[in-house]
Amino acid sequence: MSDAVGTGAGDAGARNRTGPGDADQDVVIVAYPDGPFLVRGDVAITAPDGTPVERTRATVALCRCGKSTIKPFCDGTHKLIGFRTEPQLPGDPAA
């Protein structure tokens, strides 16, 4: 069913376990421009003392702007404060 691009011959076991090309991607963090980090995969999120932070969904967004009211998760507040992750052009009012 999958388009098995980039898999070598004879690694059917690895393919069944993860998927073509995914062997090193059990956990993926995606940095979205001007927004949060999205985390996919089996990773524990804890307080400094090791107390687990309750995680109720498969993919979570971690606050990157520092202003979320539900840290460590994102609540969209970055959109209200003009948070930018990308270099700004001269004259951009958000710079």
């Binding site: 421009p33 927004g35 999205l38 109720t56 498969a58 979570v60 967004a61 994102c74 959109k79």
Partner: protein, 339 residues
């Protein structure tokens, strides 16, 4: 849901057919024609929007004591198609589109974030947070219940029509909407807790008779986008705009409910959306909408149309509600329904 009450000749003709009092070769086509010719504005037309809503309902959970065979009845489908074409044409003529970005995921996402942030309609969420009475909140929940009790379903029609990155993104969002495999966490199952706490009946369809045409129009719009492969760009744009205008307002709705003394179980629906839609909006903008446009650049304008039309119709519905409240009136057609 149960059969609603008719709102004019076209919906009366349909309801007579569905309840077995007339056959499909009867007056439906003529009544729909007459209604389409005489309506001053299809978006706010009770008779036509209720007719369309009932025709769509045959594709969802069905209508109590109505045969499922009507779903694919050609006379009913013909009537649906004629109302849809007029509805779509009215929206395309009236809804201004955002400036077209480059057909890349990055540019599409940036334009959608810019467009949804600039939405200048009246803010229901700020009103609920600061001022709404308990009664107004009950009316707000009643109006929202028409969509929210089947939340996510209209967008799920798009799944088999997408492929690759856009499809994976839509399914990831929908899986979360449907509770990640836990029925009690389905968003459509959490909302009834809020309704019950407000003294409302959370059974699907209870309040169809109570809501105005424009509220039905806002749900009919999503069904129309979802049920037509031709409009797959629009359904994707609509969902993206919904996700991108949800997390911040949901926090305000939760604040309003807490201000009025609702407990944590009652605010769960909104608290859940603060966190969930901050995830979904990134996936929706970049991977679903952006991914679709990169795969099918010809759909760019429809992605923008879907986003703009969704926000426009919901904005008109909000304006109507706020105007009624400002005048000291109920926002519902039958206010007694929620007392």
């Amino acid at each position: 849901m149960v059969l609603p009450a008719d709102r004019g000749p076209a919906s009366a003709a349909l309801l007579d057919i569905l309840s077995g009092e007339a056959d499909a070769a009867g007056t439906l086509a003529a009544e729909v024609s007459a209604a389409l010719e005489s309506t001053p504005d299809i978006v706010f037309d009770d008779d036509l929007q209720l007719t369309l809503f009932c025709l769509y309902e045959l594709h969802y959970g069905g209508i109590r004591d109505v045969s499922d065979d009507w779903e694919w009845d050609t006379a009913l489908l013909a009537a649906r198609g004629r109302i849809e074409r007029a509805f779509e044409a009215a929206l395309r003529a009236r809804v201004p589109l955002p400036e077209r970005p480059e057909p890349t995921a990055k540019a599409v996402a940036a334009r959608l974030f810019e467009f949804t942030a600039a939405d200048t309609g009246p803010s229901m969420s700020r009103f609920v947070a600061k001022k709404a009475t308990h009664e107004q909140v009950a009316e707000f929940l009643t109006l929202r219940s028409i969509y929210t009790l089947k939340e996510a379903d209209p967008h799920s029609w798009a799944i088999p029509r997408l492929s690759g990155r856009a499809k994976a993104a839509l399914v990831e969002i929908q899986a979360d909407e449907y509770g990640g495999g836990r029925p009690t966490r389905m968003h459509s199952a959490i909302f009834p807790r809020t309704m019950s706490a407000a003294g409302l009946d959370p059974a699907y369809g209870t309040y169809v008779d109570a809501v105005p045409a424009v509220t039905l129009a806002s749900v009919n719009l999503i069904s129309m986008f979802g049920l037509h492969r031709r409009l797959r760009g629009a359904i994707v744009g609509h969902l993206a705009a919904y996700e991108m205008t949800s997390s911040v307002p949901s926090r305000l709705y939760g604040d309003g409910l807490r201000r009025l003394g609702f407990d944590q179980d009652a605010t769960w629906y909104y608290d859940e959306h603060v966190e969930a839609d901050a995830v979904h909006e990134q996936i929706a903008a970049h991977d679903m909408a952006g991914g679709l446009v990169e795969a099918e650049p010809a759909l760019l304008d429809d992605v923008l149309f879907g986003a703009a039309a969704g926000l426009a119709v919901d904005g008109w519905a909000t304006e109507r509600t706020m105007a009624a409240w400002a005048a000291g009136d109920s926002a519902l057609r039958t206010p007694a329904a929620v007392r």
